[in-house]
Symmetry: C2
Subunit: 704 residues, 2 copies
């Protein structure tokens, strides 16, 4: 995000004594926002290509500590401006990102209470962002407590939606595709059990919410730059098809403690009649602030393996012993306890993974279960659950890091907090220092289970502040963060690019539990990935989890070829090869794609896309002329007819195609794949058939 | 607390298959506890000199996450033992403290639920301590959540009590003297307003609760060693005169998160028919663990002055400017704001205090309002309220510390947290490091206003853990802690002797507000001081607060002579001379006592005592043969007839007596005092008359 180039930035001030509402239109002219104060109530609507896509919707807040901000407003002025710059992310799908919008600022007074509230709209060619702003000057609200934000999104019809249940504590639900009117009858069935979950409404859903109108317009609602505010859900009035924002409460039921000058996060609408535009949109990144770090040279994408799938799928343990009913850190002496010997985070096994990583070009090896405390780490609302620095007796931190470094790889740290944020914050400085001292530069953190401080939620303002605190404190130690069970991302990786990953959805681990729906990876790019990359941990080659663990009922609902495709379709600067080394050795020819695929890109193109059906992406590896293509499809399979016109004209390339075999099927024959090689040019067309729950991956390199 | 001398420790095991209850009697034989399980319910009673002082009282818990611990118990064994040691506190009222008790352990099963709970009683000559213990082995309760502790204290009559309203967030109430039956009608009137307060019951009172029976037996109920548990109140069944414990809830209404092995704090009963024994009792210290620090050489008692009374009483400000409605730390640039010039924490004024301290033998100078953030520091549930390291533009940390050190004194740090515990914990390491770097070795911390995490209370388990965390983290930097608005002390200063002070009651500051009741300082030694020293900040010479601040209605309800006495009657290793230097200069002859009085002692004797009436103490200064005597009386005044038999026989001493003048009165003539000198010996008797709300102070030194 260095070397920002401002191409144009012109400010036009429009101000009138008796102000009226105003329109602001996207640079290309297809999207128009109309905003006004009508009978004292702030109101907006959005048109796309001359037709309404958001009907007139009201804006405001109920407050816990004073008169509401729901009416009595007077428009005092409007300002419009335009902005156009191209900036460079530290890592990303593209080397250059254009941030081009027209802006409208509505300034408003609530004269009865001597209060001020403004609305700022930014209109892009691919959508709209807007937020509330609360100036400090002459505003009687220096501090205020939000009871609820009441931002309406009035839909134009009974759209098709891809949604998960609104929940204050988890996003780990399978996606449902239904009409808006079908959310209510499908709600209960959509909710699976989780170690920490708090649903709130029979029509409450999470963002990013992907929709499609009967006219074929795609609409996505999410938020950008969630900082010092609680995470937004959407609650549907399914008589009128109007969504209203629904924030995450704190332990006392309040939803935001505000101090002016301040503003809400951006509420975002991504809009297009081409589904591919939904995926290539940079609207959410653009609405975030530029990078706050002067030096970003220490932030690097990471391809990694890990001691993890053995526990998730293989029945092995994070814990070290069965000898104690509960652990008191610093008092429980593990050297005197009998190990249960089912603990893969041990010296010998970790060295095996280090060797595998080094031999196959991986950057890092994640090790979970390395530190004391896993015997009773969840389900007890335990405060002092881990200290993040004390290894089990069979894990030699120094020797393993030394060995890893001698082989050119790093270990990846794991900080499970068990949701105990105070404990983590108390140990954070020491834990990050410990990482620095031992040569770790990235951490996977976790927030499994209910939050401490008790009564707080994963997505409330308190925890939102915690997650960002962890990221900025980590930055002081040049540590990259990949936080699991944290709040869903909202593009903050632009501002804090050491936030290289999040979970915030069902990842591959659910394939080891009950399995994700086969269309899962065709929905995530439209929904979860809008806010930032996901540590999805693809690369499962053995779909029959029973082979790892006879007790398991798990089945990975994907073909093997699709597992390769996910390294391209699920954009992330952090990619894991999640399966066991022995499974990669069984399918060494397919594994070659994982060895080859890049994790950082100069350019990305979405070739085909339809939510819940298929996503096909092509990406050009950073600093090379190599392209990688991936396609993931639903249980309906897919037929691709690709044009390779993104290749340099007149140049010859070798394409290696990892495709589903004709008889492949995610359930019955997932490991059936065919690898073929072909010489291609920018004029080539590729016809490819994708099996049910299948996919394909292609690597394309110039022929020298 | 080094060089512990164990005189005797013998263990007698008594165990029976069908166990019965057991008696355990104090070493001197005057106090007997009988404990048993009756119809499945743990029960105890206490006799004093052969008569009941606590009638049969039941013990148990309701739980939030499982069957209660209220019955179904089976006694599985009893163990008795005796213990006798003399230990040396780092600082204290006496150089040597004897810890001599007989102990009874009842082990119990709750067979229906495979659970275990034990009761441990320690019976001293001056009272009883008992606690619940939860072993880990073979106990189905590895974790459990307390809904309420139901420890009964069944009184033998309608005693006279000195009480304040039970409250989860403040102890800063004036004391009420009434019969137990009069608590209910007096409750509302006893509650004054506070920035943070949460009362809970019309018969709920705080501990330490001092009572007196109609037979003249004094009984005090409190707790010892409050660690990882919530603070106990007492709720009275005023039909039956039975108190039941009432813990402080967390944000979810639960009252304790427990992990076995664990135990409750000790519930303490101090019992005597001589009120002086209540004050000389070391029972609460003895029930605490020995010192946990290997090196305590850095812990030293402190006599100090401070930039404080000017704001409390004088109308000056902690803040620097009126220019901002609210502050955002790191964003608000104070150098660009106009100072209001009513900010005494400035370089010039602090140098004046440093000079005054150096000239008069004080160790330290407290400065409040030195750091950014005071403009909006309370009332807003503000998280990031202070950073504890950034001074206002007119406070030069380095120059002032350098100057102080050049004059042989130290500055005392002030950390007001505004109740925002997360913010304090996030900054704590840096703040303590900053202190070390600048030569501070003690901190006055504050917790004004409602707690963050929101919904938590000052006296709940979460905050109890916070206060101790601050103390132990401070110890790593060799910092002494004096925490205001923290939980009331329970003798933890034995274990963590860098906890040199607490507030936890109305201190002198209330004299500048509406005034404490004249008998206030005759109650505190029986109540608040049972758990540990109080930073009472005596030494007010100008009682008419209007003279400092014409807007004030405050009047210090004490004679000047009594203000001197408080340095002796209110034992603390931390004593402030709270008034302004100019007031001490006006009364230089009286001020000489404050200059002379010690803050650490080899021996203490309580010569006269009656709660709510008078307290007379004599203390021998550490490492000297000098004695200091103080007497404080209620609005009824007092006539003392002191025997000086504590002096060395055959030795001559000079006594300087600072007494109320004959016409002195706390309201109408508080500054009337007489200083006289007298040669005394161990055979001397002193007759002294104390004015209403008055007192006297005496310094006694051997004549060489």
């Amino acid at each position: 995000m260095k070397n920002q180039i401002t191409i144009a930035a012109a400010m036009v001030l429009g101000c009138a004594a008796a102000a009226h509402g105003a329109d602001v239109t996207s640079p290309g002219g297809q999207i128009t926002v109309h905003a006004d104060v009508i009978d004292g109530v702030p109101t907006y609507s959005v048109d796309y290509k001359g037709k309404p896509i958001v009907k007139p919707s009201t804006l405001g807040f109920t407050l816990a500590d004073g008169p509401d901000l729901m009416g009595g407003f007077k428009l005092t002025g409007t300002e419009t401006s335009t902005f156009d710059e191209t900036w460079q992310p530290v890592w990303g799908e593209n080397a250059n990102i254009r941030n081009h919008y027209n802006e409208l600022l509505l300034t408003m007074d609530q004269p009865e209470h001597y209060r001020k509230m403004n609305l700022r709209f930014r209109v892009y060619d691919d959508g709209v962002g807007f937020r509330y702003e609360f100036p400090q000057k002459d505003n009687a609200m220096a501090y205020f407590i939000i009871k609820e934000e009441n931002t309406q999104f009035a839909m134009t019809g009974d759209h098709t939606a891809w949604w998960i249940a609104g929940d204050y504590d988890t996003q780990e639900y399978d996606w449902t595709e239904s009409r808006l009117s079908e959310i209510r009858p499908n709600m209960i069935g959509s909710i699976s059990s989780n170690l920490s979950q708090t649903t709130f409404s029979p029509t409450g859903v999470q963002t990013s919410l992907q929709m499609k109108t009967d006219d074929g317009v795609y609409l996505n609602i999410h938020e950008a730059a969630l900082v010092d505010y609680s995470c937004m859900h959407l609650n549907l009035d399914d008589k009128n098809m109007v969504f209203t924002s629904w924030l995450t409460p704190d332990a006392q039921g309040n939803k935001g403690h505000m101090q002016s000058p301040c503003h809400t996060p951006w509420r975002t609408l991504i809009i297009s009649d081409d589904a591919r535009d939904m995926l290539s949109s940079n609207l959410i990144l653009n609405l975030n602030e530029p990078c706050k770090y002067a030096d970003t040279s220490w932030i690097k994408p990471v391809k990694y393996v890990g001691v993890w799938w053995e526990m998730i799928a293989g029945g092995k343990q994070w814990s070290y012993t069965n000898d104690v009913p509960s652990v008191k850190l610093g008092e429980t002496d593990y050297t005197k306890l009998k190990p249960h010997c089912n603990h893969p985070a041990n010296n010998e096994n970790v060295r095996r993974y280090i060797d595998f990583a080094a031999d196959n070009g991986f950057d890092q090896v994640l090790v979970e279960g390395w530190n004391e405390g896993w015997e009773d780490w969840f389900g007890h609302s335990k405060d002092k659950v881990f200290d993040f620095v004390t290894p089990y007796p069979d894990f030699d931190v120094k020797a393993l890091n030394d060995y890893a470094h001698s082989r050119g790889v790093k270990l990846m740290m794991h900080h499970e907090t068990s949701g105990s944020a105070r404990n983590y914050e108390r140990h954070m400085a020491q834990a990050y220092k410990f990482m620095e001292d031992n040569g770790y530069n990235s951490v996977k953190s976790g927030y499994v289970g209910p939050i401490l401080p008790r009564g707080e939620h994963h997505y409330g303002q308190w925890m939102v502040n915690h997650y960002l605190y962890a990221v900025t404190e980590a930055a002081k130690h040049h540590i990259m963060v990949n936080a699991h069970e944290a709040v869903r991302p909202t593009g903050l990786c632009r501002t804090y690019p050491n936030l290289i990953g999040n979970e915030s959805a069902r990842g591959t681990e659910y394939e080891a539990f009950a399995g994700n729906k086969p269309f899962h990876t065709t929905v995530l790019p439209f929904t979860r990935l809008q806010g930032g990359p996901m540590d999805y941990t693809p690369g499962i080659f053995e779909m029959d989890i029973k082979k790892l663990n006879p007790q398991s009922q798990g089945h990975c609902n994907s073909t093997l070829a699709r597992q390769l495709a996910l390294y391209v379709t699920m954009y992330s600067p952090l990619q894991m090869a999640a399966d066991l080394p022995e499974n990669y050795e069984r399918f060494a020819d397919a594994f070659q794609f994982i060895r080859d695929v890049a994790v950082d890109w100069d350019e990305s193109r979405y070739l085909e896309a339809e939510p819940g059906r298929y996503v096909t992406a092509a990406r050009k590896a950073k600093g090379t002329d190599n392209w990688f293509v991936g396609c993931t499809a639903s249980e309906h399979g897919h037929k691709s007819n690709l044009s390779l016109n993104f290749l340099d004209p007149g140049r010859k390339y070798e394409a290696i195609i990892y495709a589903d075999a004709p008889d492949a099927h995610y359930l019955t024959n997932p490991q059936a794949y065919v690898i073929s090689r072909k010489t291609v040019t920018s004029k080539s067309k590729l016809k490819l058939t994708v099996a049910p729950g299948g996919g394909y991956a292609i690597s394309i390199r110039p022929i020298k």
